[in-house]
Amino acid sequence: MTDRLLVANRGEIAVRIIRACRDLGISPVAVFSDADRSSLHVRLADHAVGIGPAPARESYLVPQKLIEAAKRTGARLVHPGFGFLAENAAFARAVQEAGLVWVGPDPASISAMGSKTESRARMKAAGVPIVPGMTTPAKDPAEIAAFGREHGFPLLLKAAAGGGGKGMRIVRSEDEVPAAFERARSEARSFFADDAVYCELYVEHPRHVEVQVLGDRTGRVVALGERECSLQRRHQKVLEECPSPVVSPELRARMEEAAVAAARSVDYVSAGTVEFLLAKDGRFFFLEMNTRIQVEHPVTEMVYGVDLVAEMIRIALGEPMSFASRPEPRGHAVECRIYAEDPARGFAPSPGTIERLRWPQGPGVRVDSGVEEGDTIPLDYDPMVAKIVAFGRDRDEALRRMRRALNETRVEGIETSIPFFLALLDDPDVLSAAVSTQFLEAWKYASPASSDLAAEVALVAAAVAATRESLARRGSSQPRSPSAWRTARPTFGHRE
């Protein structure tokens, strides 16, 4: 009998998982909240089960409803996607206890990486670099200075009892230590009534670079290169690429080794991502491990020629990963996350009905979308509606393809982040990859001035549309069919 897999998610990632099922000959089962009954992920599935009201906490976040849906439809596997319950160890365990197959790492691996303190301790034990920091308060400035001599400057002085950025001071050289120590102590005392301070290395203008890993039940763990995800708005990645334009083969080898060590330290099985802060001096430090498929996984898939979601499912079924020798990277891939939001109005959410939709096509372009023309984007969930991915033989070709793809796209009825990306891809620092995770904090989007062509064409289009409207209102005998506006003989051009 055909295996069935319940997709415990919605939108773009649900559609992505459904495609992996189809590619593997597995029958996909969708779940839907009341806001999603007619959504694309439901329409593409073989079975679909309603799981409650629109708010996620009453539907997509209720483990019991998902497990019940799997049982009713005879689904044997459960894939959580990302977000919602994807990194919820209790859900993973409940799925397994219900006799179903969890498509992801073991619950224990999820728990270990889910805890900030436990994961840091494990990384330390596994020899994975973490941001150097004192584990006890500093007794005197000399202790701070010694730490700086060992790990380098700048340092960040923090109140041991602190939080929220209060009582923090940056120290750029040993000279500054004594004065900064006193100021930090006195601030700590006045803010938190506790003058204990400690320090850690301050990674200035870091890049976010993450390594894709894949482990299977044979105990094999491989790394599939890194992704550069430094361009972030409000701590949300917006544009990702593979490989990172600043990671050398040597650095890649060291980061991959660290990522594999991190994964092994929690007996990692399935696809996962080890996130690092990359400092300007080439040092890198463990941030966290995401124990699930990542939004930006397609850039790795395009460069390495693998299907990570399909691998996850194979591995969950107990099979080894499908490749004997590690796939080699080829070319460069970039992803833009298309959100239903209006960059011209401070990125305000823009839910609504998509009246017209043209996705880009052709060489080197991949689109993973959760919506089609005519679909309505509900208010209730994440505003990401699609991902556009461009591949090229090198970064330059990939970026030019991305511009082409964004320009080719047409979305009417809602606003999207496409104008933001077109502006971003004009920025010399973005093009030369001179960015950090702080880059977009300072970068402001401004609606570009209309080109003369656009202004003229817009005027004519608006005037023609308005004239048609008013003729229609007057019940004029003028033809109403749009094609009647087709002109018979333009002055330009050569129609005989």
């Binding site: 239903a340 939001e341 011209a344 109005r345 305000a348 959410p349 823009s350 839910p351 609504g352 009246e355 017209r356 023309e373 208010l379 209730d380 969930y381 994440d382 505003p383 964004l406 320009n407 796209t409 047409r410 009417e412 496409i418 104008p419 077109l422 401004a446 609606s447 570009p448 001035a449 209309s450 080109s451 062509l453 656009a454 202004a455 003229e456 064409v457 817009a458 005027l459 004519v460 289009a461 608006a462 005037a463 023609v464 549309a465 308005a466 004239t467 008013s470 003028q478 749009p482 094609s483 506006w485 087709r486 002109t487 018979a488 003989r489 333009p490 002055t491 330009f492 051009g493």
Partner: protein, 175 residues
């Protein structure tokens, strides 16, 4: 028909007189008096493929904006404009005013759910002060008072879903 158009632009608004005349031969366009024949055909999705007399082609999709005026997508660009027909333009010129202002209605610029109402009837609010918080797509969005004033009425309650352009509260009319 003849229109006076105002194009909104970050570098300042521009005003253009545009006239289109559709006859058996095509579309005769006059832009600030420059007359030429353009080739305009409808395309799927309510847009047009527009051929300028010099052969330049662009796709344009005009839509009425919920805030009034029109938004025209031209390729990947967006042009915001207001179109007034001759009569309206003349009337407005006499009145010395653009579109109605100061009606005192505070409207939702996006659809969403009302999370909190921050002002009640009789409250004095100042320009830019958040008066309602809407939630949409996992984000909170402040709706701010468009000017100083006193709240006359609140038209929505927390938890309520609202559509674009829906009146959230009303300020005393400006003087």
């Amino acid at each position: 028909m003849k229109y006076r158009a105002k194009i909104a632009d970050p570098t300042g608004d521009r005003s253009v007189e545009v006239e289109v005349h559709v006859d058996g031969e095509g579309v005769l366009v006059s832009l600030d008096g420059r007359k030429a024949r353009w080739d305009v055909v409808a395309t799927p999705g309510g847009g047009y493929s527009i051929l300028r007399p010099d052969g330049r082609q662009a796709e344009a999709v005009p839509r009425r904006s919920p805030e009034g005026g029109m938004k025209v997508r031209v390729g990947a660009e967006q042009v915001t404009l207001e179109l007034l027909d001759e009569l309206t333009a003349r009337a407005q010129a006499v009145a010395g005013k653009g579109v109605s202002r100061g009606s005192g209605e505070v409207k939702a610029a996006i659809p969403g759910r009302v999370l909190r109402v921050l002002a009640g009837p009789g409250d004095q609010v100042s320009q830019g002060q958040p008066v309602v918080v809407l939630e949409a797509m996992k984000m909170e969005n402040d709706v701010r008072a468009p000017r100083d004033g006193v709240v006359r009425s609140v038209e929505v309650a927390a938890g309520q879903a609202v559509g674009t352009g829906q009146v959230l509260l009303v300020l005393e009319p400006s003087v």
